[in-house]
Symmetry: C2
Subunit: 466 residues, 2 copies
Amino acid sequence: MKLFAFAASASAFVANNVVEMDHHSKKLTTAANADKITTLPGLDNLPDFDMYSGYLSASETKKLHYWFVESQGNPATDPVVLWLNGGPGCSSMEGFFAEHGPLHLNDDETISMNPWAWNMNANMIYMEAPIGVGFSKGSADDMKIISDDTTSSDNRDALKDFFTKFPQYLANGLYVSGESYAGIYVPTLIAKIVDDDMLSAHFKGAAIGNGLYSWEKNQQSIIYFAKYHGLISTANWSSLVKNCCTNGDESKCDFFNYPNDSCKSDVETVVNLTWSGGLDVYNLYAECAGGISKQKTMDNILSKSNLNMSFTPRYDGPPCTDDNALETYFNTAAVKSALHVDPSIEWVLCAEDLNYQTTVQDVSQYIEHAMNTVPDSRIMLYAGDVDMACNFLGGEMFADALNLPLEEKYSEWTYIAEDKTKQVGGWYKKFHRLSWVTIKGAGHMVPTDKPIPAYDMFQAFLNGDL
Amino acid sequence: MKLFAFAASASAFVANNVVEMDHHSKKLTTAANADKITTLPGLDNLPDFDMYSGYLSASETKKLHYWFVESQGNPATDPVVLWLNGGPGCSSMEGFFAEHGPLHLNDDETISMNPWAWNMNANMIYMEAPIGVGFSKGSADDMKIISDDTTSSDNRDALKDFFTKFPQYLANGLYVSGESYAGIYVPTLIAKIVDDDMLSAHFKGAAIGNGLYSWEKNQQSIIYFAKYHGLISTANWSSLVKNCCTNGDESKCDFFNYPNDSCKSDVETVVNLTWSGGLDVYNLYAECAGGISKQKTMDNILSKSNLNMSFTPRYDGPPCTDDNALETYFNTAAVKSALHVDPSIEWVLCAEDLNYQTTVQDVSQYIEHAMNTVPDSRIMLYAGDVDMACNFLGGEMFADALNLPLEEKYSEWTYIAEDKTKQVGGWYKKFHRLSWVTIKGAGHMVPTDKPIPAYDMFQAFLNGDL
């Protein structure tokens, strides 16, 4: 796998490395120039910053779609930030068009500028990964095995291809970011980046939102979350404590490695409630897009995954998410053409038929390896605190368990709201080179729910304050 | 106290009981007719249902302002529901104009109709209680002692005066409702109603939202709420568990009767954070009106109240609440005239100088007395689940501790949202004649945050389904 990918990106380097000048007088490789977005349906005029869309090669057959948006600050010096949505199987175009991208897709397929875009001071790469997601593709053989390991290798190799297309950005420094299942994608990727001759010296750090860092801690914590957010009653809780906790001690419960079948049954009921109880698993306090009846029929991913780490989601979209506008937009021929992607692919927000093999149970060692290998790198783990898919309690448990020295104790952080008042954005604490941040009232898609706090937090991270 | 009040309402009965006909051909006492609202600033035309405002006498000197809105259904047969906001010291005009009243006051002093008003099928009395609150008043002597006991007696006597003014409504049946500190007002009032010859036979039940039912349970539970909503970190929690919990068992903590000074200090820090940490104590996920700096200067009521059960709030409004429109409106001469209230009174949302003596620690016995004395009466305890002032965890603890037989287990309930989709409104369980209901994502002022679910819940209560 590794050699194959290397060979591919080396050949891409030769083909791409013919320098051209674009209208901004930037030196561009031919390959970069070919990916430049020159028109975009839904927009009358392109924004002031340049955008590129096309494919990055992880091998001769593995092609990952990326949408690169230059910084609105100083693209020549601002860092490069890779963004990965999770799933596994979901497209990073959600991050672009509905979270922190500079353009937001409206329900009527028009596009609005996002004043809280993360590319204000960063060159952002939105990449659809792994193969089989969005416009990304591979051969039939490639598709047979997609795992945490192939994904991280492919992402690394695609990233190398990116810097072959855009060599001038390598020295700017590289951050890797993502959310949800990217709690696995990002750590496994940065662990490979820091071992890579091309990328390692330029690696600056990573930011992960509502990440799945540990299957165990994620499930362990959701039960407490459910209890203390009123999803289950005192009576249900008593049963859970009786069946799952040593001597009925609420602090000594095992909601993952079930001590008995009653515990297993109690836990599964709660996990099922968070995913299929008519609630929006991504934001407990949001209304469920489409309403309960649609969502009730969807599969419960996480409760199954504990029993069988390989799974095939059968739903036709994430629960309680309205993906109509995105799916209509990306399946328009003019859009596919503008983005230089394969017109034969039918784009969906989350791939239905990805045969994804989860192999990583906990990403501690990957984060530790990256931090140990690149001593100045920094990690920010953040969480919208009303998400149930990857709840903040489990995230904090994970951050604590890394046992890094605490440098700033848990405190509120603030932001200036649209009405110019000062507001509490959430809480944070800083370990040595790793910060833990919550965003109050945000769900799984933090910048969607709380764009200003999310923007401030991201800027603070890039500035080295978080 | 009791005799005095009786004498007053008896004399009021004689004076008022001259029957007149209004333009709806209703028989009205002279006193009722005098209170009829015939014009209202902010409204071009009065609504179709009749409204009355003026004073109810609890004694010759104690005058409680009420605003009575007839049902939009069938006022001749629909029940009468008294509504009381809490504080102590806050005006029920908030309930009227910002929660479930038929008219809502806009920021620009205009008035909008509320499609989710609770008077759709109920005759609603919004009463400002106790004396010293809003337009309600008493003599200087009366004001020296205002307590849970004088308040409940005065409210009962004012209610009797209401039915003297409006005798035709007594047979319709009487419910008492309220929120917050009305968790004490309502149970203490209904315990007196059921012992009253005039009212007892007509008493139907009570509904209380985010009530302060038990000082102990309210404080005990907020610590768990804070921990599991991310206000404090795992490290703070470890300290709390170490200092306050038997053998470090999280289910055996005493956060109220502190076992030691370290526990006291830890708990006070958390309670203080909920009231004065820059958060909106009434809705954790709302932005704080006016921003942090204003709110930070406000007093912490609840943390003090545990040390000293008598307190004088010194803030000039509830934390993070924008009371500007209400205070401007009610201090307009034309409004005071339209509402037949004392024009010399400067109206404030929450009284600053009320010397209120809290004497009741837990209202279980009052609820039990009412339920035992009027066998068909029903109680609904409801809670917005993101309120921190009177959090839902403490409410459920209180409901459970009444030890009533459980008739329906804890389940989700649903409502139809504005976009016609079916959504989870919250959770409920039914004990014999007492229901416990949460409203998902609502804060302390449930109908303000979630008008449709709140309306549906209230209708279900009146219909006997909750």
